[in-house]
């Protein structure tokens, strides 16, 4: 039995297709990541699965409940940490938790016990009576996660859980998330545009771009699929370089990008010297050459031909365009 099943889910806004016919399933106890640039459709997917947005077409089941027919059952069985803050700043941490517990009809004694337990888990117990407006970004995030767990959901949705947090706090949060999954067996579905986050946390990742899932597998398999190593070369004559390298037998995959050239291959160390020799023979200058193990960033590049950062700029442009059209 799956925790989440999605079949041909689509969402359109005034002719703009935000989520385009996606299908995937998540097993119980998995940490599943939706990875993609801003505006790829991650949050829209989350909103549909958490019943706050009606899909244009397609079906989805969360814990076996139909998101269209059993809204309340879906809502009871999930916890959500939204991308934007959703705490009441004029209330204390304890009161925010208490409010949530009452909304989800957690009986009083259990509620008090769980609140104490969870505030301890996220290390906020000594500040529980402070107003949330005095909290830092990291503390708020931790409080929101604690709150999302109060009614013991089977699935926890985390929408960009570490957006805007400093590296230390991020590491801290990652530990919590792993601990939650390990100790409580909660299924986690998280969206992120941080490649390292998806790589570190997720058992499985779906890469989503312009509303479509373009690849889905474990981070390891995704990385293996594009070869053992990646060489990235920056050169003013990258087109000439492309012509020489593409005929070499050891090249598994070769991509030409706006500012660079990437080669996927096995045993990169042996071939770097060869590349340098070849290019100096032809009089091609190289600004920079580097070898690294493939990251999910390379996977994204491989499937879309763009880096996530380039894509983000494009998305912003597109959003701006859309806004202009609306006006």
């Amino acid at each position: 039995m799956f925790a989440i099943e999605v079949e041909n889910l689509t969402k359109e806004f005034d002719g703009f297709v935000a989520v385009d016919n996606i299908s995937f399933s998540i097993g119980k106890g998995e940490i599943f990541g939706l990875l993609g640039p801003n505006g790829a459709g991650k949050t829209t997917t989350m909103s549909m699965l958490s019943t706050t947005l009606k899909p244009t077409s397609g079906k989805a089941y969360v814990n076996g409940f139909d998101i269209l027919k059993n809204e309340d059952d879906v809502r009871k069985s999930i916890g959500i940490v939204f991308q934007d803050q959703s705490l009441d700043e004029e209330l204390t941490a304890y009161e925010n938790m208490d409010f949530h517990g009452r909304l989800y009809r957690v009986p009083k004694e259990e509620r008090q016990k769980k609140i104490a337990e969870l505030l301890k888990l996220v290390e906020l117990e000594d500040k529980k009576d402070n107003l949330v407006k005095t909290y830092s970004g990291g503390m708020r995030r931790r409080l929101e996660i604690a709150r999302g767990l109060l009614h013991e959901p089977d699935v926890l949705f985390l929408d960009e859980p570490t957006l805007g947090l400093d590296p230390q706090t991020r590491n801290h949060l990652w530990d919590y998330i792993e601990k939650l999954n390990g100790e409580k067996g909660i299924t986690l579905i998280l969206t992120t545009h941080y490649m390292d986050e998806a790589d570190k946390l997720c058992n499985r990742v779906a890469i989503i771009d312009r509303g479509k899932i373009i690849a889905s597998d474990t981070p390891e398999k995704l990385k293996d699929s594009i070869g053992g190593d990646v060489i990235t070369i920056h050169s003013p004559q990258k087109n000439d370089l492309y012509e020489i390298i593409k005929d070499q037998t050891w090249v598994k995959h070769l991509d030409l990008h706006d500012s660079s050239l990437t080669i996927s291959l096995q045993n990169a160390g042996q071939h770097v010297a060869e590349i340098v020799n070849l290019s100096s023979e032809k009089g091609i200058s190289i600004d920079d050459i580097s070898i690294h193990k493939p990251t999910l960033e390379d996977v994204f590049l491989h499937y879309t031909g763009r880096t996530i950062r380039e894509e983000e700029a494009n998305t912003k442009d597109r959003m701006r365009m859309m806004q202009r059209v609306r006006r």
Partner: protein
């Protein structure tokens, strides 16, 4: 019911914590009460003013205080929308009607407290409460004004994107409702076309009801006031709930 109570509790907690709001929204009613009350008390005598002009406008100023606080409480949902808290409430497995009722009763509570503060302060400038039933009648009318206009605020907030339209609502909707209500003048002395206009204003019945409770006399039959204002309250709550159901985040 427990969900309505939960939302109510949050609203009341927030209200009691915002001292500056409590004190701040006393400013305008007190200003009206003192300036108009003392300024015009000696020169204005009209039929229906056995208690002097100050005594006459006290119920009007109490209504004003309840009116402004309740509309503001309702519109506050926009803050919740902008600061994200509304999402937390809307995604919980509770009905929108329960949320809306909790907000309405919470806003009404805050506005009645605000009205009671004016009432207590009025005791210092000469208001005498002679009968307990009359006092209770005044409270009932305050509650009705509070409920109906909080629901009115929620209805508006459900249709507004942000707080930019707030001034517009205050100046072109709330002030006219106050001004036309007979809070500051006896409606019987008005030209007949203006009088019919005031009778279309639901607040008139609230003011007259409170006036009957506190002063023992009014220009509109208190039973009629009660029926009209109750009808308006029911309508506003239903209408507000309908619009709130369609709010999107």
């Amino acid at each position: 019911m427990d969900i309505v109570y939960t939302i109510w509790l949050r609203n009341v907690k927030r209200y009691l914590r915002s001292r500056s709001r409590i004190v701040g929204s006393l400013g305008m009613p007190l200003f009206f009460l003192l300036v108009l009350g003392f300024g015009l008390n000696s020169v204005v005598t009209l039929p229906g003013m056995e208690h002097g002009y100050t005594g006459f406008i006290i119920p009007g100023i109490i209504s004003m205080s309840v009116l402004f606080t309740s509309v503001f409480s309702g519109i506050q949902i926009i803050w919740d929308k902008q600061f994200g808290f509304l999402k937390e409430t809307l995604v919980a497995p509770v009905s929108r009607l329960e949320i809306m009722l909790g907000q309405t009763i919470g806003g009404a509570t805050a506005s009645v407290i605000q009205g009671l503060i004016i009432l207590v302060l009025s005791l210092l400038i000469g208001l005498n409460i002679t009968s307990i039933p009359g006092f209770l009648i005044a409270i009932v009318f305050m509650v009705l004004i509070g409920l109906s206009f909080t629901a009115f605020g929620i209805a508006i907030a459900s249709r507004m994107e942000d707080m930019h339209g707030f001034q517009l609502i205050i100046n072109f909707v709330v002030f006219p409702i106050f001004g036309l209500s007979g809070a500051l003048f006896p409606i019987d002395s008005l030209p007949s076309w203006l009088r019919s206009l005031t009778l279309l204003d639901p607040l008139t019945y609230g003011v007259e009801g409170i006036r009957y409770g506190l002063l023992g006399s009014s220009q509109v039959n208190p039973l009629l006031s009660f029926v009209v204002l109750t009808g308006f309250t029911v309508f506003m709550v239903v209408f507000g709930a309908y619009l709130f159901r369609k709010i999107s985040i």
